[in-house]
Amino acid sequence: MATSTSNAGPAAGSALRRGRRRPVDSTVRVLLVVAALVSVVTTIGIVIALVQPTIGFFRQVSIIEFVTGTSWTPTFAQKAYGVLPLVAATFVVTGIALAIAVPLGLGSAIYLSEYANPRTRRVLKPIIELLAGVPTVVYGFVALFALNPLLQKWWPTDTGPAFQNLLIAGIAMGIMIVPTIASISEDSMAAVPRSLREGAYALASTKMQVSTRVVVPAAISGIVAAVVLGISRAVGETMIVTIAGGLTSDRIVLNPLEGAATMTAFIANISSGDIPVGSLDYDSVFAVGALLFLITFALNAVSIRMVRRFREVYE
């Protein structure tokens, strides 16, 4: 057998010097950095898009009124710019959504991760992930045309909930985020090392004890991250509340049977509406957008920290 190769000779030492240029490598590097910068530009773009009109808004409306006022009527003749009604409606809907999604999602996750046999799990987990992809406009439709009639029909008293109301929006949103919470918490439970479970079983624990006292606490930061992500999705969700949640914002509505505008519903309605650019009303959309951005920013920060902690524990 003849090959034209030879051992790197003893003279190799000097040949170690950087001689060869590698143009492909340096070109690629530039390309990669440029690509990575797109996301930075996006964030900067968002901030720019929000900041200027928001400053314009706060030139005319005091920040105090904005954060403490209890009426939001920028499109009426008697204008009021207290954002609390929008925030309140947002959190009522989010609260209802969580009340549904957290138990269902967590319970499903515990069942899948601790009880279901591997075959069931292999089938069900992808289906859950599949359902996480259903577009939100579908949930809005379902809320208005399926859940609402049901609610009206089964309502015990004569005066049922309003046609658009926070309750159905919350329920639809809850159903929407169940797959997200279930899937992420299941991931974090699956990441709890076998050794911890074995340790617990070896101490004569039952399955429930292992699930509730070892697996869930060990996965808690992942579970919290899932819930925070659920909150942030609910807070930012637009279509369901726009379709099914109502538009009232002249007062703080806490009764879920009434309709009310969330931050996103307000933005969606007004920005497709007839307000002229540069007007105070137009700027109000961006002020609310900026507030929404800040709230979800804070939630994301919490969630990112949680996820990181949950990674650190076992890696």
Binding site: V28, I46, I48, A49, G107, F145, S271, F286, L292, F293
Partner: protein
Amino acid sequence: MSTPTLTTTTTRPDPSAPGNALTQRRSRPGEVAFRLAMQACLLVAFSVLTALLAWVLVKGWNRLDSRLWTEMPTGLVSRLDTAGVQSALVGTLWIISLVAVICLPIGILSAIYLEEYADNTRWYNRLLELNIQNLAGVPSIIFGILGLGIIARALGLGFTVITAAIVLSLLVLPVVIIATREAIRAVPQSIRHASYALGATKWQTVSRQVLPSAVPGIATGSILALSRAIGEAAPLIVLGAVTFITFNPDGLDSGYTALPIQIYTFITRSQSEYTELAAGAIVLLLAIVLAMNSIAIFVRNRFEKRW
């Protein structure tokens, strides 16, 4: 070893008759109840979701035929029964193809940079990473505001297919980046080391070893991202896509409508024909989205290597 002063009342099981105790199975009702409760959660979650989807199917049943994609929307209430959503379907396909072209290369390259090239002890790289994680959680409607203020107006791209595609690309960019990073990270370090140990350069290692191994994960993430973009309505509403359109887009600067937007406008109409049509269009949208997600999940489960 043990301190004699310490007294505890605990005892071992009697070693003389432990065999008997072993067989006295304690009844554990809490155990059964817990299991059933967890099972019930899963069952309820599933049945509600499937019931809702089934309801949409029933509601739109009358409209589930070729009219949906061969016919254009109509402005004539009297002819609603012969209307379809062709322009929205084609608009959606246009947008999604453009999103794929814009978003996937940028997303995958960003992920390669972060995973393989960036020194994550540097503050700017960590900031970059944080920025991407954070963007992933920014509500979609905010991207609509970005698109309206910057892309449509400041950059002057107007209310066109390309504006919608750029906005949706930026929206799902973090999804692609994060999924690609996961896929790249799943390629074991040992493969990279083996390649370097043979004298390969960084890009050789990345392009010949890491990326081929990460393809299933990248494909999965990409498909999921695209299917998310297909279903988004909120940013398009802000972008003024609520438009009656009876023609298919014919270029990047063309006007457009998209399925979720079309569905939204149908929902706001009071005639029951519109509700039916909305349900039909939803089934069409779901079919596309769920098919894409199924492919993604299949690819992941089938081809992703368990190292």
